[in-house]
């Protein structure tokens, strides 16, 4: 069966340009030759207002397969990103990104990115993906927040320009 990944993603891109949440960035990767790869999206998620992640801008790469939207994309922060639900490889562990759990084909890129933004402030300690953030959150909340500010909170420019 012919996949609809590309047409759906083209549509997603169109919808995103029409309307997207404030300070979010999401766009297909540009290859060296200037063409764009619709299956890989470079995104930036701002920390939520009022939360400990506020003020930071966090880069996420969404990788879609040809089986999208039946299968979820893979979402990655940079390697060693400090968060209990992010693997050392940067892979984000989130139910809506898990085919067996919460993934549904109708979830939009916007919903995915907002879901990740939500995860930043609401870590799920029942499903840890890295040791450092997990233990800090478990044992010392103050230390955890400090590390978020120190490691996580980087100025927008230090990631990559949008």
């Amino acid at each position: 069966m012919a996949g609809i990944a590309r047409s759906r993603l083209t549509q997603e891109r169109k919808n995103w340009r029409k309307d997207h949440p404030y300070s979010f960035v999401a766009k297909p990767e540009t290859r060296d030759d200037g063409s764009s790869d619709i299956l890989v999206w470079q995104c930036i998620i701002p920390g939520k207002k009022g939360g400990i992640w506020e003020g930071g801008f966090y880069p996420v790469v969404l990788k879609f397969s040809e089986e999208y939207p039946e299968k979820p994309p893979q979402a990655n922060f940079p390697q060693h990103f400090f968060h209990p639900n992010v693997y050392p490889s940067g892979k984000i562990c989130l139910s809506i990104l898990n085919e067996e759990k919460g993934w549904r084909p109708s979830l939009s890129v916007k919903q995915i990115l907002q879901g990740i933004q939500d995860l930043l402030d609401n870590p799920n300690n029942g499903d840890p993906a890295q040791e450092k953030a997990y233990h800090l959150l478990l044992n010392s909340k103050a230390q955890y927040e400090l590390t978020v500010k120190k490691e996580g909170l980087l100025p927008k420019d230090s990631w990559y320009t949008t």
Binding site: M1, I4, S7, R8, Q11, E12, N15, E67, P69, E70, I96, G102, R104, P105, S106, L107, S108, Q111
Partner: protein, 562 residues
């Protein structure tokens, strides 16, 4: 119509249950009377109950089932009832062999009376009966709750196919049951699928604009039919049998009929096969036969014993899924098979017969009398007795570095592991021997039966029963063999020279002797077997051996107290 067919099935079931304990007798009579009201033409098609040796009392049918099965069709029109009579006769004409699966067949044909639980293996519900039961349960629930069959299936699956449980829970809190099963609330259930609507709006999966044909479950989350089809096909391809609505956080499950409507035939067939298999996986009353390439399912509820037989006559243990292993216990079997499988006994042998090279740790077996060893691998030269460097020995043929304590300790260790090895091998050889004998006897039996059939063709005046006894006797012989095989596993686990072991060995000896006698006789030439006196001897010996087998099993069950 469906309902009456069902009640006739129930009646049939009741007739196959001759010896209910007194507590259940009354209620079953009552039930029988009530079914007689609806079905009349059953008087002369009683299922023979000879085949049914005994049956455990079935739990009384759920009160809600009885209560909500109203007399709606009692007052139904006459013509329908005539039809029912026809269909009833049709059902009761199902071959007896088929019916007997529903019943409870003692494997020993009722010939030997025994109350032993381990002694009997029971053959239970087979494939056909399972499908039929699945169908019946689904239809009954569908009718009682006024939902479609496919919705009833979803409801049943959410409670592991426990119909009674479902109905009583449903009566308590229908909303909750529906939510757990992923079906819409009862009022809307019958509208499981909104009819396809053509609309101009965007489909939230492919994000294409209309005009597209949209469909939705009763939750109203609609997607274009192409997306539905692709979504369902992919899920089916992955073997998923619980497909939920594509809407985020909607937990409504897609019923079977939707898959049929939206997918091609091939996909739907695949899906319904998966769902059918899911019945066995989910239901607590069914298991898959663990024999390689068997793939049959067997019901377990009719069985009082943990050993059951599938329709292919593979007998197995429901708990540990290995061969029926009476008198050995499941844990003994698991431990034994592991012991046979892994290298632990090889290790015992190695430690009793070999030493490791002190330099490269290669395992070395001594192949000559001389104690001057040279490791073939690293060429290290050492003394077999003290494991020291050979160069340090001044006198070639006697080891002057002899440390009596050290040597004694290692000798003790060796003797111990050698004894354990010998003990294990004693039981293992006998265990394997009975297994081998059984295989050979099965071959001999097959040959004998073939030859008998030939003979019978030549001399048609011979009755079938005159030749059939060989097959039956060998069947009994094989049963003894299997039990004998496992007695050695059981004995291996018993403490040596305990009183239990003595008694057990006595019973084992008895069984072994009778089994061997029977085996010897059955191996004689076919012409010999056809003699009347030989036949009666075979029959007598088979009965004696079976008796010994049951005595042994019963003895073990009673804890081996004299």
């Amino acid at each position: 119509m469906q309902r009456l067919t069902r009640s006739s099935a129930r009646q049939r079931e009741e007739e196959t249950r001759p010896s209910l304990p007194s507590t259940n007798q009354n209620s079953s009579k009552r039930r029988k009377q009530s079914t007689e009201n609806t079905v009349t033409a059953t008087g002369n098609d009683q299922v023979s109950s000879d085949k049914v040796a005994k049956r455990t009392p079935e739990e009384p049918s759920n009160p809600t089932t009885a209560g909500t099965k109203p007399s709606a069709s009692n007052s139904s029109q006459q013509p329908e009832q005539v039809q029912n009579q026809e269909s009833d006769v049709e059902i009761s004409e199902i071959p007896e062999s088929d019916v007997s699966y529903f019943g409870y067949c003692s494997d020993d044909g009722g010939e030997v009376q025994s109350n032993s639980k381990v002694a009997t293996e029971t053959s239970c519900m087979d494939e056909q009966a399972r499908r039929r039961q699945q169908q019946e349960d689904t239809e009954e629930v569908a009718e009682l709750l006024g939902v479609e069959n496919s919705v009833a299936t979803l409801l049943l699956r959410s409670v592991a196919w426990n119909k009674e449980d479902l109905l009583s829970r449903y009566m308590e809190d229908a909303e909750k049951v529906c939510a757990a099963a992923g079906v819409a609330n009862p009022a809307a259930v019958s509208l499981a699928m909104l009819s396809a609507q053509v609309s101009d709006r965007e489909c939230s999966i492919c994000r294409l604009d209309g005009p597209l044909a949209f469909s939705a479950l009763s939750c109203g989350h609609s997607y274009c039919d192409c997306c539905w089809k692709r979504f369902l096909s992919l899920k089916v391809e992955e073997g998923e049998t619980r497909i939920v609505c594509p809407e985020p956080s909607c937990s409504l499950q897609v019923p079977e009929n939707i898959v049929r409507q939206l997918c091609d035939r091939e996909t739907f067939e695949k899906y319904s096969a998966y769902v059918e298999n899911a019945f066995v996986d989910e239901s607590k009353t069914c298991v898959w036969c663990p024999y390689p390439n068997c793939g049959l399912s067997v019901g377990t509820t009719d069985s009082s014993s943990k050993f059951i037989i599938c329709a292919q006559r593979h007998s197995f243990c429901v708990e540990c899924r290995s061969e029926a292993h009476a008198p050995a216990q499941c844990d003994q079997v698991i431990e034994w098979l592991k012991k046979c499988d892994d290298d632990s006994e090889t290790f015992n042998w190695l430690s009793a017969n070999t030493q490791d090279c002190p330099k490269c740790q290669s395992t070395i077996e001594k192949n000559g009398g001389c104690n001057h060893m040279t490791c073939r691998k690293c060429k290290h030269e050492f003394c077999w007795v003290c494991l020291g460097l050979w160069q340090s020995h001044t006198d070639y043929y006697s080891c002057n570095r002899f440390d009596p304590d050290k040597v004694k300790a290692s000798e003790d260790g060796k003797a111990k592991s050698r004894a354990a090895l010998d003990r294990y091998l004693h039981y293992y050889h006998r265990y394997m021997n009975h297994e081998r004998s059984r295989k050979l006897e099965e071959q001999i039996r097959d040959k004998a039966v073939l030859k008998m059939e030939e003979l019978q063709k030549k001399e048609p005046q011979r009755l079938w029963g005159d030749v059939q006894f060989v097959g039956e006797a060998t069947e009994k012989l094989c049963k003894c063999r299997v039990v004998l095989k496992w007695t050695y596993v059981f004995a291996h686990a018993l403490e040596d020279s305990s009183s239990q072991k003595n008694l057990f060995c006595f019973l084992q000896e008895d069984l072994e002797r009778n089994t061997e006698r029977l085996s010897e006789l059955l191996e004689s030439e076919v012409e010999n077997l056809l003699k009347a006196e030989v036949k009666s001897e075979v029959l007598a010996l088979a009965a004696v051996a079976t008796q010994s087998r049951l005595k042994l099993l019963q003895g073990v069950e009673e804890g081996l107290v004299a």
